[in-house]
Assembly symmetry: C2
Homo-oligomer: 238 residues x 2
DNA sequence: AGTCGAACGTGACCCGTGTCATGGCATCAG
DNA sequence: CTGATGCCATGACACGGGTCACGTTCGACT
C-alpha cells in the first residue's frame, strides 16, 4: 500500500512502502507532533498545479498519495520534465530552505493527497528540531542525486536512443515486476511526456520504440511494456 | 581577497568576499570551535584529484583557495564538467550526508588550499550543531540549484550556440568586470573544457566563437574575452 | 452504432554538429 | 635554430534527429 493516511503517516511508517528517504519516517514523537500541528491536508484533482516556476515560495508540499510532474519551461515554450515525484517526497523544499523562487512547475498527474506546510512554520520547525533538519539535508541530497542522473543522461548520451534506454532501465529498477517474459512495467506517460523527459521530440520517441520492438528488446501491448532483453538496453547505454 | 587562511576563516568572514552561502560564515563560536578541532588543512598542487567518481566517501572538502573542476565520465570516456567550484564550497557534501558514493571527480585547476573533515567527524558535528545542519541544507540547495541550471541548459537548448551563450552570460554575472567596451572576463578554461561544460565538441566551440566574433557580439584577445553585445547573447537564449 | 479528440506511426526533407583531417601558432627544452 | 607539444582554426562529409505532413488507432461520450 501507499501511504494510507496523512494523519497516521508518522506512526506507521514501518508498514508502509515508502522509501527510506521519506521525510515522515523516524522522527521523534515530539517532532512528529510538531509537524502534525502545522500541516494542512489537501486533496488535488488530476491536472492541478501545486506551484509554478518562478513563483515565490509559500511553503513545502509533502506528497502523500499520487504522482506529481515537475517540469521547467523555456521562454519559447519548450518543456522539459525534471522528474515524476512519488509519494513521500517533499516538493518545493530547496526553494524554501534557500529562500529562492520555485524552480519548477508541479502538476498532479492524478488525484493527489498533499500536506502543505507554510514557509515560516516549516523554517521554525527546522530551527527547533535538529533531527528534522538533517533529514531535510538528506532529502536535498536525494534531489541532487536525481538531478545528477538527469545531467548524465542529457549530457553524456550520444543519441536519443541511449537516453531512452537509460530511462527504461531506470524505470525497471523503480517499478518493474519480474515475469518469465522479462520485466514488466506500466508506463503511465504518453510518448509526448517521455519525449519531454529525455529532451527530444514525440516522433523520435515513437520511432525509437519501433526500433526497440524490431530488435526484440522490448514488447509493447497497450500501456504495459515488457523489457525482454535488458542486456540489449544496457549495451546501448555502454 | 580570497579566504586568507583556513585557520582564521570563521573569525573574519565579514571581511572576506566569499558568497553568503559559504559554510564557514555565521556559525556560533561553539560550532566554529568544534569545526576547528576536526578539520585538517592541506595544500594541493594543480591537477591533484581530491576524490574520484564512484569512490566511497571519506569525508567532505572545504575549498578555501583555488578552483576545483567537478566532472563525470561515461563508460566510453566521454566527459562532462558539472561545474567549477570556487572558494567557500563544500565538496563531497551530498555523498557524505546521504551515505552514497561520490558522484563526480574533483580535480584542482590550480594550487588549492583545502580543509578536509572525516565523514564520521562531520556527521557527529552536524548531530550536535543544528545551525550547521541548516547551513548544510542551504548549501545542498545551492548545489541543487546549479544542477538545475545545467539541466535547463542541456535540455532546453535548441543548439550548441544557445548553450554557449548561456554559459557566457552566466560567467558575466560571476566574474565579469564592466568596461567601456563591454563586460570583460578572463576565461580560465580551454575550448576543450568549455566544450565539456556544454556537452559538445571542441571544434564546435571554436566555430561558435568565430561566429560570435563575426556577429560583433564578443571580442577575444588571448584569454580575455569582452562581451560587446550582451543583448545579442540574450537574444540567442530567447 | 457513429463522432470526436487525443495519442500514436511513419515518410520526406534538411539543418546542425560530430568526426576526421590538415595546418597555423604559440610556448618550451635541448 | 629545431623539434616537440598543446591549443586553436577551418574545411569536407555523413548522419542523427527536428520539423512538417498526413494517416491510423484508440478510448470516451452521446
Amino acid at each position: 500500500m501507499r501511504l494510507p493516511n496523512g494523519l497516521q503517516a508518522t506512526e506507521n511508517c514501518q508498514t508502509c512502502d515508502l522509501h527510506s528517504e521519506d521525510f515522515f519516517c523516524r522522527l521523534s514523537p515530539e517532532a512528529s507532533q510538531a509537524l502534525e500541528s502545522i500541516k494542512l491536508t489537501n486533496i488535488y484533482p488530476k491536472g492541478a498545479v501545486l506551484f509554478f516556476e518562478e513563483q515565490s515560495p509559500r511553503g513545502v508540499f509533502m506528497l502523500c498519495r499520487g504522482r506529481v510532474k515537475l517540469s521547467v519551461c523555456s521562454a519559447d515554450g519548450k518543456m522539459l520534465i525534471l522528474r515524476i515525484a512519488e509519494p513521500g517526497e517533499l516538493l518545493g523544499l530547496s526553494a524554501v530552505v534557500s529562500d529562492r523562487l520555485y524552480k519548477a512547475t508541479a502538476e498532479t498527474l492524478e488525484t493527489c493527497q498533499v500536506n502543505f506546510i507554510r514557509k515560516e512554520d516549516f523554517l521554525s520547525f527546522l530551527r527547533e528540531h535538529g533531527e528534522a533538519c538533517f533529514r531535510v539535508a538528506q532529502h536535498l541530497s536525494q534531489n541532487y542525486h536525481t538531478a545528477y542522473v538527469q545531467i548524465r543522461s542529457l549530457g553524456l548520451s550520444h543519441s536519443a536512443l541511449e537516453k531512452l534506454a537509460r530511462l527504461l532501465l531506470d524505470w525497471c529498477r523503480g517499478n518493474g515486476t519480474q515475469t518469465e517474459q522479462g520485466i514488466r512495467l506500466k508506463l503511465g506517460l504518453t510518448h509526448e511526456e517521455i519525449a519531454k523527459m529525455i529532451g527530444t521530440s514525440r516522433e523520435t520517441v515513437s520511432r525509437l520504440f519501433s526500433e526497440l520492438k524490431g530488435r526484440e528488446a522490448i514488447h509493447l501491448k497497450g500501456s504495459t511494456l515488457i523489457i525482454r532483453d535488458t542486456a540489449a538496453l544496457e549495451a546501448i547505454t555502454n
